[in-house]
């Protein structure tokens, strides 16, 4: 299997290089067969990469410990289903996964655009294939997933060997979230290459009209949605497995996935202005460049290890390679941009401060502001290390404090933006629109304070969220009512409204998903309660309005771990309202503990229990917390996916007569 795998990645490297070079040469010298041949080569990279992946997975399935990667990430007692996770658990395998995904996405991107973007497609192909070739190269030279296992030999050297059993899989990865979180995350980050390649290819070809905009929008939204879902599932994984009741730690690895996502969020908004009014062309290219470079930055941080994190693959010389590629991307992206700079100018200016264009500009400003603050927080400790003796840590409190207001501003814009008209909004129509949502939001704020809420920031945040929701509901109400006047019930009318303008209403549904996430964030950040309990069997302790009784303990031994399962009864007052099971395991080989929190979830709050210590006298040390509104964080996930699907759902084209017939009719009519 190692033979097949290594041959596949070497072949992939050759084919990708050919595809890139051939596309450019064929286009520049007008050799049509070369362009077609290069395109086929591009399509071929997908089955070749998949062959390599198949070889690795087969090696896992047959316990082929002659391959170092299989040795390092599996063992004989491992459940077979974790082979999928083991596949991308380490550097080499995850690179192979990224290569497969990128090859498939590139093939799809090239195939789907072959007619509409025919002129720029060879350049787009070349860009995608160059990126792919880079990943193949990294695997061949620095991170070979198929390298042979070595064992210590005579005189301190390493010799090839075939051990009996592997080391096993990292216990933190044996969680359902791990089946989807890393694959989605890596696919989303890799997918940013596609809109980038569409745009840069169009610029290189000299076609700086807007054909690339539709392709970039669709592919941008797809990779943005995949990345966003991956991030959310990662938060869920952290919540249930890391044991401290949190879901986002502003860890450098989390941050480098968030930054491209924020930048792409800015792009998918800003591209709407280009579609509607032909403006912001230059800015959209800049956004794609930034997003792509940030994705490369993420690879560098993830695999180069200059920052410490619970996440990162072990530091290696690979870091410099990825840093180099990131700098190369930066130079190339902005080089192409400045080369074609003049062609991107729009003849339309912004006409008023009160316009949707300005709302989108503010949205972009805030998103990029958050991106900058996050980047600064990631990079600053590295700077201080170079510049002075001491190091500083930049962790959660900093990010919350600085990004918090920016997020709040972003939510406010989310409410105001849809209300603004294109070009110019009159104060009268704005007033008519905003009276109800603002009034009700202020009322809600007053009600919260009267009801006893004593966190000013939370009051403001909840009011803003209410405002955003009310604006959307107001538009839906008005549109549905107008449509229902023509006959039919309101439910059908509302569906008709949604179907009538899918990008817009899909976008509103996504906004509701974001509001839902924010709702959960505010609840858990401002109103959580925690208690550390030490309980004898039969004893109980209080947290929030609950009482937890330690009922039972079960111990399971396995060859690679010792696990303890604690059973707890949950009471509120004198009523027993349920039971919780909290699980704790220790893996001696990895010197790693892993937990599964016992969680009792209601829409109002989560009761979250993790066993932290088992004392010799039989007492159990528990960390218990009450996390209000936590469930809403996860409810947002499906809403987000549905909204994205609606936004991407193609609209039927309108009938348009060709110019010849049109002009004849127009001539008859004379001037308008």
């Amino acid at each position: 299997m190692a033979d097949l795998g290594f041959m596949a990645i070497v072949l992939g490297l050759g084919v990708a290089l050919y595809a890139a070079a051939g596309s450019i040469a064929g286009k520049v010298y007008g050799a049509a067969e070369l362009v077609v041949s290069a395109r086929r080569a591009a399509y071929l990279t997908a089955p070749i990469a998949l062959a390599g992946a198949g070889a690795l997975i087969a090696a896992f399935a047959t316990h082929d410990f002659s391959i170092d990667y299989v040795f390092a990430h599996s063992n004989r007692v491992m459940d077979r289903e974790f082979i999928w996770v083991a596949f991308y658990a380490g550097n080499g395998g995850s690179l192979l996964y990224v290569t497969c995904v990128l090859a498939i996405m590139s093939a799809a991107a090239i195939h789907l655009a072959r007619r509409r973007l025919a002129d720029s497609l060879p350049y787009t192909t070349a860009i995608l294939m160059a990126i792919l070739a880079f990943f193949f190269l990294v695997m061949v030279v620095w991170a070979n997933p198929f390298s042979h296992t070595t064992c210590p030999g005579p005189g301190g050297s390493q010799v090839a060997c075939v051990p009996d059993d592997g080391r096993g899989i990292n216990p933190l990865l044996t969680h359902p979230g791990m089946w989807v979180h890393p694959p989605l995350l890596m696919a989303g980050l890799a997918g940013i290459a596609v809109p980038f390649a569409y745009a840069a290819g169009a610029l290189a070809a000299g076609r700086t009209r807007d054909e690339w905009a539709d392709a970039a929008r669709v592919s941008g939204i797809v990779s943005w949605a995949i990345l966003g879902t991956g991030i959310l599932i990662g938060a869920w994984w952290a919540y249930t497995i890391l044991g401290w009741g949190g879901y986002w730690g502003w860890d450098p690895i989390e941050n480098v996935a968030l930054m491209p996502w924020l930048t792409m969020t800015a792009f998918i908004h800003s591209i709407m202005v280009q579609k509607r009014r032909g403006m912001f062309r230059m800015w959209n290219i800049v956004l794609l460049n930034i997003a792509f470079v940030l994705a490369q930055f993420g690879m560098f941080i993830n695999r180069g290890g200059p920052v410490v994190s619970v996440h990162s693959f072990a530091g290696s010389a690979l870091g410099q390679v990825f840093l180099g590629f990131m700098l190369l991307s930066l130079v190339f992206a902005f080089g192409v941009f400045f080369w074609r700079y003049r062609w991107l100018k729009s003849d339309r200016p912004v006409e008023s401060f009160l316009s949707r264009e300005v709302a989108f500009l503010l949205n972009n400003f805030l998103l990029l502001g958050i991106t900058f603050v996050t980047l600064w927080g990631v990079v600053f400790p590295l700077i201080t290390e170079f510049a002075s003796d001491g190091t500083v840590t930049v962790a959660t409190p900093y990010f919350n404090r600085v990004n918090g207001p920016l997020f709040l501003g972003l939510l406010a814009i989310m409410g105001i933006g849809p209300v603004m008209a294109w070009r110019r909004s009159s104060m009268r129509s704005l007033g008519r629109w905003l009276l109800l949502p603002v009034g009700l939001a202020v009322l809600a704020a007053a009600a919260m304070v009267v009801a006893g809420m004593r966190e000013p920031l939370a009051v403001v945040a909840f009011s803003v969220l209410a405002f955003v929701v009310l604006v959307i509901l107001e538009e839906w109400f008005r549109s549905t009512r107008a449509r229902a006047r023509a006959g039919g019930n309101w439910a059908a009318a509302w569906l008709g409204v949604i179907a009538g303008n899918r990008p817009r209403h899909g976008g509103y549904i996504v906004h509701l998903a974001i509001v839902t996430v924010a709702f959960g964030v505010v609840g858990t950040q401002f109103f959580d309660q925690r208690a550390d309990l030490v309980l004898k069997r039969g004893e109980s302790g209080a947290v929030g309005s609950y009482r937890l009784e330690y009922a039972n303990l079960k111990i399971e031994e396995r060859s690679d771990r010792t696990a303890q399962l604690a059973h707890l009864n949950v009471y509120r007052g004198n009523d027993r309202i349920g039971t919780l099971r909290a699980w704790h395991a220790f893996y001696p080989d990895f010197r790693q503990a892993s937990v599964r929190a016992g969680i009792r979830s209601t829409p109002v709050e989560d009761l979250y229990v993790v066993p932290t210590d088992f004392l010799e006298d039989g007492r159990l040390v528990l960390r218990a917390s009450v996390n209000p509104l936590a469930m809403w964080l996860w409810i947002a996930g499906p809403v987000f996916v549905i909204g994205t699907a609606v936004a991407l759902w193609p609209q039927p084209a309108l009938e348009v007569r060709p110019a010849k017939a049109q002009v004849a009719a127009g001539l008859v009519r004379g001037t308008a």
């Binding site: 044991g243 401290w244 949190g246 730690g249 860890d251 920052v307 410490v308 994190s309 619970v310 200016p349 912004v350 006409e351 008023s352 401060f353 300005v358 500009l361 503010l362 400003f365 502001g369 900058f372 603050v373 600064w376 600053f380 201080t384 002075s388 001491g390 190091t391 500083v392 840590t393 930049v394 962790a395 959660t396 409190p397 900093y398 404090r401 600085v402 920016l406 202020v442 704020a445 007053a446 304070v449 004593r454 966190e455 000013p456 009051v459 403001v460 503990a593 932290t612 210590d613 348009v656 007569r657 049109q662 002009v663 009719a665 127009g666 001539l667 009519r669 004379g670 001037t671 308008a672």
Partner: protein, 154 residues
């Protein structure tokens, strides 16, 4: 009307700020846990970490708070032993002042630039652009294709 709304909201928010019950010892300790980093863990606060040394530090914090030390004194104690990297937020002094100052400066500069650009565009936009003559018959054709819609609401 906007000013009225802002004033009303401000008043409500102020009311929310008052009347908060004083934090208990445990709440103060938990707040401190979130502001200190575990010395041996990669970037985790005491609140997040499960290793022994983090547990010991949490116990120490509670003992000292019970003995009457202030939050500042406890933080200073840890900084003395482990250096400034023990703080989850960099202190606002020396080189780490930059981490606090740079973001607001950059954001303010960005906002100012944005405002200047939009204002400049607005000034240019005020002068109406002349429509070309030749567009006339094409406008007619477009209106024809759009049907009655061009006049306004059907």
């Amino acid at each position: 009307m906007g000013i009225l709304v802002a004033a009303l909201l401000g008043f409500i928010v102020l009311a929310a700020g008052c009347g908060r019950p004083a934090p208990t010892l445990e709440q103060r300790a938990q707040a401190l846990d979130r502001q200190l980093i575990c010395p041996v863990c990669p970037g985790e606060t005491l609140d997040q970490s499960g290793v022994q040394i983090a547990k010991d530090m949490r116990v120490l914090i509670r003992e000292r708070l019970a003995a009457g030390d202030t939050e500042e004194a406890i933080k200073a104690y840890f900084v003395d032993r482990y250096g400034t990297r023990i703080l989850a937020e960099p202190p606002a002094s020396g080189i780490s002042l930059a981490v606090w100052v740079i973001p607001p400066v950059v954001l303010a500069a960005g906002a100012a630039a944005l405002w200047a650009v939009v204002r400049e565009m607005r000034r240019r936009a005020v002068a109406p652009r002349a429509e070309d003559e030749s567009l006339g018959k094409y406008l007619g054709a477009v209106d024809d294709e759009l049907g009655t819609g061009k006049r306004g609401a059907p």
